[in-house]
């Protein structure tokens, strides 16, 4: 029987199940099928908190949300249109996020008394009316999968595990996804166990066919391709893009990359990824702690490598003293902070933007560093290159801020042309730089105010540097009051002198009176909210900062051009305070600190108020 086909412009699906149910993989596959089809995409995984919980419990729920559309989109979507719930825990944990009317596909096999009680369901939600108002599709995913795989000689456990492929097949059918890449993927994944590959493929097809045949799904959906810029795309997470950006920085600078890192959620994957690219001369050292990690990176920079260190808040705090040394030594250093919810251990798997103050002000003495932030998963690639450019050109530590949302979220990435990437080559000092034939390690380049990078091994430039105050030009230890004042101001001027592009303002109609100023991962939700407001006839402008220190030269003018400036942040107003202090503009701070990204909807509602009253 053929089914009715309905066109949709956008869909948000959330796959949810137990940690063991392979929801991340299922989401990944659906995402890549969807990519093949040319939709724009944004995804967001949601892992269980640090510690693994017993199977079937609420803390054990893992989910993956994918938003795809026929236009370009900016966020993984506020609320799912479809929830795939592999067990009662997944249903209970995700139901609150579901708008009435949404579709729910549940794996009925798991709704046993025992499983229900595990999550505190006294009655069965499938029958007690809990789900009234939703369109529920009850599917015996496990048993149907097992039945479908009866003839394969694989264990029962293995057959059951394939249920996620059954679900994927069903959803792929429902949204008319091309499945070739998934079949290929499964072949590859289970290359060593052909029967398992075959079984999973069979499960996938069984799911697809189930959709085709069952009465339960009367309509089938299609989402037309989005008109995105031409080119080759891949889907990429923030952590992967960041790691690739570091590799690219090594290639484009011609310098070896040294990563000193100590594992920490959600930054560890950068270490994992970079440790796999040794062929690029990338050295990764898992240090004994964060202090050693940044110390080793600084030592490598001293030797002429691109020193990089990655961590999250607690670890970055520990690096503070050594970053201050790097400020005094004036050597390149890239410090990556994948922010998570604090203070202290906080909620390691949850996102937050509350380390901006730490990056800007978290050192003793006057120790200014450059600070940049990425706005989207794929932007992490460009931001990494920009951080490396600043570090290498200006011989300074650069703090690069991302967060858990960017780190694990993904989006399609238009692959850059390698030759078009910035040229990051540097010149090491090779000969004395003063007329009297002496080498002056703190004699500066008049443009960049950078001092020469004279690496050990260079004959005739032997010199000593350290954390004590240094005399201008000679770099010798100096306690001279005037020299200290000069050096303190010079270190500040060095950072202010960094050339950064003007901030662009997205103000289509040009007559907006309210400006929304953001930084980092709020780019998506703010952008989406502004679009919605405009679609409702409200004029609103959006400026988003990549450079947080120094700030773009035009920022002051931009801010003063608007009657009202709103700064939404996933902290208590850290950027707002900076711009208020700097430009004396009465920037309004809007904050939610829930360990989650903003939803476009809440920003839209908040901004609508502001716009109306502006």
């Amino acid at each position: 029987m053929t089914k009715q086909v309905r066109q949709l412009d956008r869909v948000v699906i959330r796959f949810a199940g137990d940690s063991g149910d392979g929801m991340q993989l299922t989401g990944d596959r659906f995402t890549s099928e969807t990519a093949q089809l040319g939709n724009d995409i944004s995804t967001l995984p949601n892992f269980p908190a640090e510690i693994r919980a017993p199977a079937g419990t609420l803390p054990g729920v893992s989910s993956f949300q994918v938003h795809f559309a026929d236009t370009d989109i900016l966020t993984p979507g506020d609320a799912p249109n479809v929830l795939v719930a592999m067990n009662p825990a997944a249903l209970k944990a995700n139901l609150p996020d579901l708008p009435r009317g949404a579709d729910i596909i549940v794996n009925t096999d798991e709704f046993t008394k025992r499983n229900l009680s595990k999550v505190g369901y006294t009655d069965n939600p499938l029958t007690d009316g809990t789900l009234s108002g939703y369109s529920v599709h009850e599917v015996a995913l496990t048993s149907m999968t097992v039945k479908a795989l009866a003839d394969f000689n694989i264990s029962k456990k293995e057959a059951e595990r394939a249920k996620n492929m059954f679900a994927l097949g069903l959803l792929s059918w429902l949204y008319s996804r091309p499945y070739e890449s998934t079949l290929a993927f499964l072949e590859k994944k289970f290359a060593s166990r052909p029967e398992l590959a075959a079984a999973n493929i069979a499960a996938f097809k069984a799911g697809w066919n189930f959709g085709e045949t069952t009465e339960d799904f009367a309509v089938r959906y299609e989402v037309a391709p989005a008109s995105l810029p031409r080119g080759r795309y891949r889907n990429v997470t923030g952590n992967t893009a960041l790691a690739l950006g570091i590799v690219a920085a090594g290639v484009r600078s011609g310098l070896p990359v040294f990563l000193g890192a100590y594992p920490i959620t959600p930054a560890s994957d950068i270490l994992h990824e970079l440790s796999r690219h040794k062929r690029f001369g990338v050295v990764t050292v898992q240090a004994e702690d964060e202090i050693a990690a940044v110390g080793a990176a600084l030592g490598a920079s001293y030797g002429g490598a691109l020193g990089v260190t990655t961590s999250s808040g607690p670890g970055v705090a520990l690096k503070s003293e050594t970053i201050s040394l790097a400020v005094a030594l004036e050597l390149p250093l890239v410090v990556i902070d994948v922010q998570r919810a604090g203070p202290s251990t906080g909620m390691p798997t949850k996102t937050e933007q509350a380390d901006l103050n730490l990056a800007l002000f978290g050192r003793h003495g006057e120790a200014p560093v450059a600070v940049v932030a990425a706005r989207s998963p794929s932007d992490c690639f460009d931001t990494a290159l920009e951080a490396a450019r600043i570090a290498l050109t200006y011989r300074t530590p650069v703090v690069l801020l991302t967060d858990g949302y960017l780190a694990n979220g993904s989006e399609p990435w238009l692959l850059p042309d390698v030759d078009q990437l910035p040229d990051l080559r540097v010149e090491f000092a090779t000969r004395p730089n003063s007329d009297d034939g002496r080498f002056l390690p703190y004699l500066r380049d008049p443009q960049t105010l950078a001092r020469p990078w004279a690496v050990p091994g260079t004959p005739g430039l032997e010199h000593r540097i350290g954390g004590l105050e240094k005399a201008d030009r000679t770099g010798e230890i100096s306690y001279d009051p005037a020299n200290h004042d000069l050096m303190v101001r010079t270190r500040a001027a060095r950072i202010e002198a960094i050339k950064v592009p003007d901030v662009e303002v997205d103000d289509p109609t040009g007559d907006a009176r309210v400006l929304v100023l953001g930084w980092g991962s709020t780019y998506g939700p703010i952008g989406a909210a502004c679009r919605r407001l405009r679609s409702h006839g409200h004029a609103v402008a959006h400026a988003h900062l990549r450079h947080l220190n120094p700030l773009p030269a035009n920022l002051g003018d931009v801010l003063r051009r608007y009657d009202k400036v709103v700064v939404p942040e996933v902290n208590l107003g850290q950027l707002a305070a900076v711009v208020r202090a700097r430009y004396l503009v009465d920037a309004l701070s809007y904050n939610q600190v829930r360990g989650l990204p903003f939803t476009a909807a809440e920003l839209e509602a908040m901004l609508e108020e502001v716009v109306k009253n502006a």
């Binding site: 290639v251 000193g260 690029f280 990176a297 540097i465």
Partner: protein, 344 residues
């Protein structure tokens, strides 16, 4: 002069133009002189030698060496040096540190550098006191030490730096003393030859805050009976014409000092720094009493083990071998790895 350093270097070539600023009489002067006059032996160009230190009186050392040098922050020199050593196999990297710098705030970096066996020569100037901060007790100060911060005496048992290093899997462990230039240089020689982490404790007198801490090892009246000079392959005897010797009591554990006359020569322990089993060097490290009686100096342990940085570079080399394309080409294919799709 920028280029062409004559490889016939002398001690003078290693003196920097900086005025040396330790207290008159400080043991650091003797160590500095000994090292400067030893350096030419290395046969390494000055520019390929790097001294990295932490903070402390001892840590001012790099300023006085006409090589590359970094006076870093308190306790972190081994970590910083690790990053340099791993990325720059062409350099000879030295760490200079103090008992507080290396064993108090820097203890963790030290023991990890040792277990990794990073190519570093670590010189610990042990004066058993915090000199730079004007006289607080250190992790090597004797129990009950009365200092500014311990007016009623310190309550912590000190570290034995060599025992700690051996417990941390060190492959080269030695001890020497500021007052004996010849011995100091012989130990530096062995340390410099060692591939991996060479850990050298140098007893150093702080004549301002802990004067004569090692007096019994220097005083002609006592030194012969207190100091044991270890020589690889030779039976361990000491004292006026070797009247004392070290034996390894059967059944018992650890080592003992006995009058040579009363001991069957075959029972005298023959020093072998190459014993794979660290238990021997460990036993040696426990020989000295709190009064410094029976303090062995020399190379306690020197065994071969692949160094961390060599292994890391091997991995890089192996990974590179498999690929012939230019970095740009490789990067392009790396970026395009995984599922990709084209929109046109």
């Amino acid at each position: 002069m920028p280029d062409a350093v004559p490889l016939q270097l002398t001690a003078k070539d290693f003196k920097s133009d900086q005025e040396v600023r330790w207290c008159p009489g400080c043991g650091d002067y003797a160590i500095l002189a000994a090292i400067q006059s030893f350096m030419p032996e290395l046969g390494i160009e000055r520019e390929r030698i790097v001294f990295i230190s932490g903070i402390g009186c001892a840590s001012r050392f790099p300023y006085y060496m006409n090589t590359y040098g970094m006076h870093s922050i308190h306790g972190r020199a081994p970590a910083i040096a690790t990053g340099l050593s791993v990325t720059r196999p062409d350099l000879s990297v030295w760490v200079v540190t103090g008992d507080g710098d290396a064993l108090s705030i820097g203890g963790n970096h030290l023991i990890h550098a040792l277990r990794r066996n990073v190519n570093l020569t670590i010189l610990l100037f042990n004066n058993r006191i915090y000199g730079l901060t004007k006289g607080q007790y250190s992790p090597t100060s004797e129990l009950g030490k009365i200092t500014k911060s311990t007016p009623m005496g310190s309550a912590d048992t000190p570290f034995n730096p060599l025992s700690l290093a051996l417990g941390a899997e060190a492959t080269f462990v030695a001890r020497t003393i500021d007052s004996d230039r010849q011995h100091l240089q012989s130990v530096l020689r062995a340390a410099a030859e060692h591939r991996g982490s060479a850990f050298v404790e140098i007893y150093q007198n702080c004549n301002i805050f802990n004067d004569d801490a090692f007096e019994p090892l220097k005083n002609p009246a006592t030194r012969d009976d207190y100091l044991i000079r270890l020589e690889h392959g030779r039976p361990i005897t000491f004292g006026a014409d070797g009247k004392w010797c070290v034996v390894h009591p059967p059944g018992g554990f650890g080592l003992q000092v006995r009058p040579t006359a009363e001991v069957d020569p075959d029972d005298i322990v023959v020093h072998d720094a190459g014993v794979a089993e660290p238990a021997y060097a460990f036993a040696l490290s426990r020989l000295a009493g709190p009064d410094l009686r029976h303090t062995p100096i020399g190379v306690f342990r020197k065994v071969e083990r692949p160094s961390y940085d060599d292994l890391v570079r091997e991995q890089i080399a192996t990974a590179k071998k498999e690929h012939s394309a230019t970095p740009e080409e490789q990067l392009a294919s790396l970026l395009a790895s995984g599922d990709t799709w084209t929109i046109d």
